[in-house]
């Protein structure tokens, strides 16, 4: 366990990603140095940054490169590619006039990855979908970790009745299979929206999947945090602070929270990967992101009916999910190794 005097603090944590010359000496610097030596983690971080930047540029891509509105159908429109005018939804060329096929990948600016069943640009929707998927996964991760920190720290530090109540609540939440709970909540909330007093969240708001996904994974992070805090509460430096009459609030903020931060930080990418998968699953089942908005899950659902004629529609978001989740998991492993004080990595001074 990292003693209080060597515990990382929030300020240095924030500086971790900014100016290295300003970094104070201490465990965060050691962690950063370790992380720098982990090439897989660095490559994962770079991949994630690349994906996030690409998704943030979605409006520019759609407007200036693809030249299309990826949110409305283009069922009877044409597009000019390389001087040839093509139907976006190509009529069936068979004796029975059965079926139709969306435009395949053009490898040009417009319809680079082809069109979906509504004639929408798959590449543009992939980028917009990534924005929603990453936004939901990221925001749900923050919500989940915030709730986990509050519940875990309170339960572990306060003990007694509070611990009993919070732990049983976590047990109840834990007892439900995650996907079953998420699907149940989504079916109810997505169909009617959420009305709490004067506040209303519309059924198609992204806040709903964020809240649902954020809540269902709380036990996964709260339980380890509670266990960690139980140990910290009995550590010498906390007992000393208590003996000196330091208020609980101050002990929590100055001694407990900094020691829990590294655990939460390690959890962050791993929980975000789980959240991304859950969001994709809910959206695939049409109880996550609602049309015409896109997420990687909704695009896979769109591509499900085109798997024989335009497999790229389902494969592209699938590949995006795999790469992102893989990157998050590798980064999470790297962070865990970097923040582990027992790690044997040699750090250059």
């Amino acid at each position: 366990m990292v003693p209080a005097s060597r515990a990382p603090n929030i300020k240095s944590f924030l500086l971790l990603f900014f100016k290295k010359e300003d970094l104070p000496s201490g465990p965060w610097r050691v962690a950063l140095a370790r992380l720098r030596q982990d090439r897989a983690a660095l490559a994962s971080a770079a991949t994630l940054v690349l994906i996030i930047v690409a998704c943030l540029l979605a409006p520019l891509y759609a407007r200036h490169i693809a030249g299309t509105d990826p949110f409305r159908p283009h069922l009877d429109e044409t597009v000019t590619i390389g001087g040839r005018t093509l139907d976006i939804l190509q009529p069936a060329d068979n004796p029975l006039h059965l079926g139709s096929a969306p435009l395949g990948p053009t490898w040009h600016g417009a319809y680079f990855l082809g069109a979906d069943g509504q004639g929408r640009d798959v590449a543009a929707r992939l980028l917009y979908g990534g924005r929603n998927s990453l936004l939901i996964a990221g925001a749900a991760t923050l919500l989940c970790l915030a709730l986990a920190a509050i519940v875990g720290i309170l339960a572990g530090f306060m003990g007694g009745v509070i611990d009993q109540i919070l732990s049983r609540l976590l047990d109840i939440l834990w007892a439900f299979p995650v996907y079953l709970l998420a699907i149940s909540l989504s079916v109810v909330l997505i169909s009617q929206g959420l009305h709490i007093g004067p506040f209303t969240i519309e059924a198609d708001s992204l806040l709903l999947p964020i809240a649902i996904i954020g809540i269902v994974y709380v036990p996964y992070a709260a339980r380890p945090v509670r266990g960690l805090v139980l140990g910290l509460a009995r550590s010498d430096f906390v007992l000393a602070a208590v003996a000196l009459g330091v208020p609980n609030r101050r002990i929590l903020v100055r001694d407990i929270l900094p020691n829990v931060a590294s655990t939460l930080l390690v959890f962050a990418p791993l929980i975000m990967a789980l959240n991304l998968l859950t969001e994709s699953a809910l959206s695939f089942l049409q109880i996550g992101v609602q049309p015409p908005a896109a997420s990687w899950g909704t695009i896979i659902a769109d591509g499900q009916t085109l798997i024989y004629t335009s497999p790229i529609v389902a494969i592209a978001p699938g590949v995006a999910i795999v790469i992102t989740v893989l990157a998050l998991n590798v980064l999470g492993d790297g962070l865990r190794d970097a923040l582990d004080p027992r790690a044997k990595l040699r750090v250059r001074s």
Binding site: G117, A203, D204, I307, Y308
Partner: protein, 562 residues
Amino acid sequence: MIKFCWAARICRRAAASAAAVLLGLSLARAGIEPSGDRGALMRAHRGGALRLSSYQPSGTIDPQINYESDFWQVFAVTQDGLLTFAKAEDQPGMTVVPDLADALPEITDGGLTYRFHLRPGLRFSTGQKIGVADVLASFRRMFKISGPNVGSWYNILVGADACLATPATCTLAGGIEGDPATGTITLHLIRPDAEFSQKIALPFASILPADTPPSDLGTTPPAATGPYMIASYNPVRALVLVRNPYFHQWSEAAQPDGFVDSITIRYGLQNEAEITAIENGSLDWTSDPAPLDRLAEIGARFTSLAHIHPLLAYYYLMMNTRIAPFSDVRARRAVAFAINRRLVVNLYGGPALGTPICQLLPEGIAGHVPYCPFTLNPGATWSAPDLAQARALVKASGTAGQKVTIVSSDRDIERAIAIYLQSVLNDIGYRASIHSISFNIRDTYLQNSSNRVQIGLTDWYQDYPSPSDFLNVLLSCASFHPGSDASINMSAFCDPGIDARMQQAMQTQSAADWAGIDHDLTDLAPLTTLFQIHRLDVVSARLGHFRFSPLVHMIFSEVWVQ
């Protein structure tokens, strides 16, 4: 072989009932014994096993309860009533013919009394003789088990009120009587119903042994009367039909003998796998629709395996006439004008699988006179959407900018159509969103007015081929039941004037009257039809003699595999 056969020829049936009776009589006479041609075919092709597939079963196999077309297809070859619809293609397939009765009923007392005579010498698959007591008990059982439509179709029998009030003690006193000595059965109605013969030609009025329990049979096979009987039914695995050892053909029109020896419907295979199996010859047919991404392949490489037939069915948008914005007829008309029905048909699978329509009576039903006021150039048929007109109507109605939620099922095709409709509603001035629900609850959810559905996508298939089954069922005041899951008038539309005209038309069966009502209702747009559905059947190369009835669809007893 492709069949685009019956719809164009029968679209102007003027005197449906009279023609049906005459045709029924001629079919009955012609079909007492197997025709020479059929006898030769039977000798050449009798035998073999038909291998069918369905992704999921359709519930109970109680013919007096089940309301699913997949199982009506099964009951068509296992069960019989006093009357039935002819097992024939095209127009004859919509004709009522005598089945267990030896002739069409003698109707007297101004339509209040129906007298039948039971064919002698018929037996159930258990070996029991079919007698008058079985007929009387079967009609009573319909009420005892609270069958789906006893309150709306069969409540016209004398004594039905008491049966509906206390089903367990139902006797239908005064409503049905029989004479075992002469084989005569007499039904008494409280008022004339020109469609009563059609209603008792459906599986609900199947004749079962008198000792059949007055409760849902569930998975217990009912005693059969047709050429096949249900040998076993496991909703997880399969439904197996084998030959009924006591069957002998009494009417080729009503119940022809079957070619194959057994029929197995397996459950659980996804439709992608079903189509592959049919193409490979390891399966003969599926009740499920072909997946969208396989249509082009079927149309190009498996043309000879595909059979396409228009159905008496359509997709439509219900619009709640009691909730804004569609409480304003201009808003409803705006939607009808704005929809590009050709694009909707393309989303459904292409022009071979649907015909754009605007009116409420589909082609093939008496009273259908082509009419489309909601198109760029109003006339007989739909040509193109009129977005300018639609936007003007929305503006005039003062509903622009309102939120509209489209309710659709989670089926791929319906979801795709809903996404298109969302863009259309946004285009004409609304703020549209989609509420996607499970297909299993689609209709009950849309029907319940407590859910306050503004607009919803659904479909309607005929029960029996009558205009009232579309107009009166879908839009009469009596079909609206506030707060009920069984309120088929989803639009909550009620116009007493039109209601009275429908009541009169049901008595006169005047095609001209129905045509007028159809056009007036279309103008009021409580619902807007999108396209008439065409059914695609894909069959194995070995399956021959494919025969398609407009009501039963592929007739299992008509096809052969060797």
